[in-house]
Amino acid sequence: MTLHGFILLGLALFSLGLVAVLSRRNLIAVLIGVELMMNAASLNFMAFNRYVVKDPAIGQVFVLIIIGLAAAEVAIFLSIILRLYRLRRDIDVEHLTGLKG
């Protein structure tokens, strides 16, 4: 596969993830979308790492950091979702408007 192919693949995955974040009502679906976006970003980094950059370590370091951050973020996100569900029995984004001005 060429670089262009990987970039397009990454863009497609990112867009799918973005759409999922913006349009899904279920918080877990939003979480899945966030994961998709992060993985698309990782794919992008690795593509550039393979085809453009001479030093193969940089891209890999980025991806490792992203994976670690994603894990931490998922942990926090899921604990918030669990807490919300216990309190409200509802994780529909449209009903969580407590910060409304």
Binding site: L18, L22, V93, L99, K100
Partner: protein, 610 residues
Amino acid sequence: MDSLTLVLLATGAPLICFLICILALRPHPGAARVVALGGMGLSLFGSVTLLLQGPVEPLRFLWFSSGEIQLQFGFLLDGLSLLFAVAVALITFCVMLYSIGYMAGDPGTTRYFAMLSFFAWAMLSFVYAVDLLQVFIFWELVGLASFFLIGFWYEKPEANAAAKKAFLMTRVGDVGLLIGLLLILPLSNSFDLPHLLDPQAGLVRLALPATLTLITLLIFVGIVGKSAQFPLHTWLPDAMEGPTPVSALLHSATMVAAGVFLMARLHPLFMASEQTRTVVLCVATFTAILASTMAMVERDIKKVLAYSSISQLGFMLIGLGAGSLFAGVFHLVTHAVFKALLFLCSGVYIHHLATNDMEEIGRRGGRQLRLTTAALVIGSAALAGVPPLAGFFSKEEIFAQLGHGGLGPFAIGAFAAAFLTAYYTGRMVFLVVAPAQIEETSHDHHGDPQPWVMLAPIVLLALGALTLGFFGSSIAATLGVQLVHHSLVSMLPAIGVVALGGALAWFDFGRKSAPRRGFITRLAALETLFIRQWYVDDFYRTIVVRINTALAKTMHFIETRGLDAGFDRLGFNTLGLGALATRLQSGWVQIYTGGAVVLLGLVVAYFGLR
């Protein structure tokens, strides 16, 4: 004693009595009366002594300076002020003495005597004033005293309305006066009277003729207000709501005479302007006739005397306008005496018989109060101009001056007014003295109907009315004017007119089988016109009051619906904008995220495309 001490005594004694009464003597009406009367006595002493000492140089003190203007405070002690001050002081003293009887038992006695003292101070300071601004200040203060005295029984709505009307109408006049005075200032940088009246260097030389006319006309507006001439005359009949001694003092003899006095004081200025003289003569003659017509259909004795004052003030202004200082001032002095006398007599009737209506007074036996009735007759004769009483001589001077060329129409008007004066005066006398029948009802006599405190002033003033006419030459000498003797023949028209009026009054009211209805009742339309006071008051009530209310309503509308509403709208709309803005804060995470993404995209695009 030197002049300064005397004049300070004359003006200051009443002031101190006012302060003492108002600050300390509220609970002691008896003491207040004594203090006030004592102060007035001292004042009278001061003014009489000053008169006897004759005219002296003016006394001045610098009061303030602003920029180039310097204003003085002081005393002008020439013949005119010395003479009138004695008249004022004497009549005030008489009225105060009389008031002790008339106002006995009134809960507001202290306040009454305090205000009378205040008035005396203001009036005398006005008369002796050396500076036009000082004149204006005391002119206003005299008006203030009048307001509080007319509205003395302030729990009566009619008294309050009358006081307010008097104050406002004279204020309108005062506006004219003030503007006129302020126009003088740029020309001469001072208000000093001797300086302004100086024939060589005074206002006559400093001002253009047109300016002088404007200034004198504006001052005349003030005079019209204060001396109750047409069209600012309607406050005076209403002012009869005040106690009768107040009417005697303020609204016949002194305060309303202040306007005439001012014209006498500024006589050289008025004489210098032909147009102003004509205006003065027109207004004064018209007023004299107008007021006489209203007097001849009036039933309330005080109102008859009020209209009569308006009319006689017109006479004085005719005399001054025609060119004779002496004529105007002589009549001013004689009128003060006999009009005060008439009011005090009416006060006895009102006090004892509890009615103001002349027919009622007659019917309840007014004529049985012999001394008062005799004094009434004397005063009326003086008013009508019966020789040899005071009024005859003073009126004669006015007619004589009118004979000096070119004043034909005014002379005719003056004679007509004199005729009417004799008629309504005779009517008044006959209604009281010769009623159809006298009722034999007993009235609640609280003590002696004619206590000596009320009779003594009446007797004194009656003597004055009888004899003052013969003092013409001394008065003229004090004023520094030469007296011209009139032949008997030239006096005949005046005598004739008086006789005619008196005869008609006798015919209508006096003789045994008199119909006791004026001849005017046969001319119903005219009678209505006179009774309705020529609709002047109605005009004011409908037009002027309406305009005022309309203006106030409009501005109020602008304020509440226009300005206030506008700014409120601005404020609430700003709040509304804020409410709009809060809609962005939906609380939806995804909206916020979407917004961020869009913005980020825009930024990237911007930098990418650059």
